[in-house]
């Protein structure tokens, strides 16, 4: 009897632990606000520059005239080009694709999977008889940059619909985020929660709150635009695990979880990073 009660309690606990994205989000946000009491919550969309003043000044110099403006311009031109069938990207998105970044990634109930903005763009192409872009394609990143640009200032609002598949995708992203991997045995959270604000070699670790708000970003080091999944790829490689492909199910679920954590913050992509 006693044992049964304990088992029931355990089940009840694990259900609550699993099933409440909103509770997760509140705790996640509260953690950082307590950790960095001087940083206003709206600042987290600026990544490491929210918590590192010296780097911030240099970043602001870059933002004075950021190289991603070329990508936005390129994306706008591509966005306006009709497909061979006469339709265009605007036909695939609500509000003609303008100012909708904040709703991605979304859980697509028909497909039963997480659809990121990049995947949605490729699905749009395929639905209209065009071939999909490879995910590292400059054109696809430019389209994503343009769509982020038109959504600047919108509030991130990712939803986990009441559907066990959506919750499972969210939970999978959460598990990925908190699981150690690679030869260095690090979880995403080891660097970007527990050690946010600390140094790793010559780098200052950013806080995860607000992480997905500013992608795609122009990386000065590379002299090119990169997607959020390319950043995931880099982080996974940095902990010496073999990276997964961009837009793999794992990365899409990770983006889903991570973006949900940033609900309520502003979209400010595209961004500039070192």
């Amino acid at each position: 009897m006693h044992r049964l009660a304990l088992a029931c309690l355990a089940v009840a606990l694990s259900v609550t632990a699993r099933a409440d994205p909103e509770q997760d989000r509140e705790a996640f946000r509260a953690y950082f606000l307590q950790r960095f009491p001087d940083v206003p919550v709206a600042e987290y969309v600026n990544g490491i520059y929210a918590i590192d003043d010296k780097a911030r000044a240099q970043w602001q110099e870059i933002e004075a005239f950021p190289p991603y403006e070329f990508a936005v311009e390129q994306g706008e031109a591509l966005f306006g080009q009709p497909f061979a069938n006469g339709r265009g990207y605007a036909d695939c998105f609500e509000n003609g694709g303008i100012g909708v970044r904040q709703h991605f990634p979304r859980f697509d109930l028909e497909r039963g999977e997480v659809v990121t903005l990049e995947l949605a763009l490729n699905l749009c192409r395929m639905d209209n008889g065009e071939s999909p872009y490879p995910y590292e394609s400059d054109d696809l990143i430019a389209l994503s940059a343009y769509m982020a640009w038109t959504s600047r200032g919108e509030t991130i609002d990712v939803k986990v619909p009441d559907d066990p598949r959506a919750l499972a995708a969210y939970e999978d992203g959460k598990r990925f985020y908190y699981s150690k991997r690679g030869q260095l045995n690090f979880a995403c959270s080891d660097c970007h929660v527990t050690s946010a604000g600390s140094w790793v070699r010559a780098d200052h670790l950013s806080a995860s709150l607000g992480h997905p708000s500013h992608f795609p970003v122009y990386r000065s080091k590379l002299g090119e635009m990169i997607s959020l999944h390319s950043r995931f790829y880099g982080c996974i490689r940095d902990v010496r695990a073999r990276p997964l492909d961009e837009q793999s199910e794992e990365y899409r679920n990770l983006e889903y979880f991570l973006t949900y954590m940033s609900n309520g913050l502003e979209v400010n992509g595209p961004g500039a990073r070192k």
């Binding site: 699981s179 045995n185 604000g197 695990a241």
Partner: protein, 116 residues
């Protein structure tokens, strides 16, 4: 706020050390044994490494260098450097096994890190 965390580095070094089989650790006994290595035994070791790597890859938790260690092992074996090839294959196998162990450990352990 800007505190250096030597523990992060220390942990990485320990783990990196743990996972490597350094040639310098080999004793003269091992060197003797190495003389008896054959192409066949090296191929078997490489096969075991490949199997371990595959298991980790199936779970999507393969480590970064495992594949290239196996590639190097094959190359050294092809050149007749059996001792070197064996060390590389063993290191790769160990990495594959550690990655799977890590995965199994994390099946529950990740829950401890969730911000609540």
């Amino acid at each position: 706020m800007m505190v250096r965390t030597p523990w992060l580095v220390a942990v990485s070094l320990i783990l990196a050390g743990h996972a490597s089989v350094l040639p310098a650790q080999e004793t003269s006994n091992q060197a003797e044994a190495a003389a008896q290595l054959s192409a066949e035994s090296v191929a078997k070791s490489i096969g075991r490494a490949e199997a371990a790597r595959y298991q980790a890859a199936e779970l999507r938790v393969e480590w970064l260098e495992t594949g290239s260690l196996i590639e190097q092992a094959r190359k050294e074996a092809g050149l007749g450097h059996y001792e070197k090839a064996m060390a590389l294959a063993d290191k790769a196998r160990q990495q594959g096994e550690l990655a799977v162990e890590q995965y199994e450990r994390e099946a529950e352990a990740w829950q401890q890190r969730v911000v609540r």
